[in-house]
Amino acid sequence: MKPAENNIEKQIKNLRTQASAELDEKLHHKFRQALGKEKATTAFHQPIQRTAILHSRIIKLAAAAVVIVAVCWLAARQKEVPQQPGTNKAAAATIFETPAELVSIISLNMAFRDGGMEAVEEQFDKAAKKVKAGLNENISIDELICELDGC
């Protein structure tokens, strides 16, 4: 390059003028207006975020990985569900509506283990006598069962 041209280039590079305060004010006002509006209306953010996700390769990969992991986890969970003991709890909840029922079933179960059907019947008789004592003296056990079962 010729020295004269080099000198001209240097002078051109050194050209400088200041932006006026009026331009500063006008543009900063526009910035405030536009950016304030952008903050207020979230509708503008949604497409921006969506496009940001679509345009970013890393975010795309991360999103795909998350979806795959979630699908695998759900599939694994689906297989485990029948083996879980939680289902028995649900069944028990449907059988025993009140704690009293649960207690009586447990006591009958214990009686059956101790003495078989005879022990269960004996316990049932005792319970029936207790109930009968609190009610009418003349009512028989068969009538009481009939009344309870709704015959």
Partner: protein, 180 residues
């Protein structure tokens, strides 16, 4: 340079909050470029204003692929070219601009750019054809590559190189003539 990359990255992701910083960083360079191209500071500031406002449009999803400085310089040059084409009175404006180079320069801004050492250069620049002036300023002042200038003007690289070379030669001959 690192800040430019970060600003460009944020802008490309749709973050318009970086625009005030971009403006603050490049305002003087952009106004200088536009003033040198249009020979009228108020028109130059209007061009810079229009470029920055166009970047603010919320529904416009721009993506800057080149350097931030290069992008802004190209945008301002395009705006200045459009104004130069549409305004029929640019020759009058040019005369006013050269008049502004005299000792009765109207303001400190004018004196800053058109100081004694640069008066001859600016006057010579004003005498160049618009295309040559644009090629010289974008190449030397804004540091754009010939390829980028060619792309912005939609011409071949050889054409831009020719304009640049002729522009510099003409500048040199004008300056030599003035100095003699």
């Amino acid at each position: 340079m690192l800040e430019d990359t970060l600003l460009r990255h944020k802008f490309n992701r749709g973050n318009k909050r970086v625009l005030p910083r971009i403006y603050e960083k490049y305002k003087h360079q952009l106004v200088t470029l536009a003033t040198a191209l249009l020979h009228d500071k108020s028109k130059a500031e209007d061009a810079v204003h229009d470029v920055l406002v166009s970047l603010l449009e919320p529904h416009r999803q721009l993506k800057i692929n080149q350097t931030l400085k290069g992008y802004l310089a190209t945008a301002v040059a395009n705006k200045a070219r459009t104004r130069n084409k549409t305004e029929a009175d640019h020759h009058t404006a040019s005369a006013e601009y050269i008049g502004c180079l005299g000792d009765n320069c109207p303001g400190p801004d004018c004196q800053a750019i058109f100081g004694e050492q640069k008066r001859h250069l600016v006057k010579a620049l004003a005498q160049l054809p618009y295309e040559q002036r644009e090629a010289v300023l974008l190449k030397v002042f804004s540091g754009l590559k010939f390829k980028a200038i060619a792309k912005s003007q939609d011409v071949s690289i050889n054409t831009v190189q020719g304009k640049y070379r002729y522009g510099l030669e003409k500048l040199r001959s004008i300056l030599d003539g003035e100095l003699e």
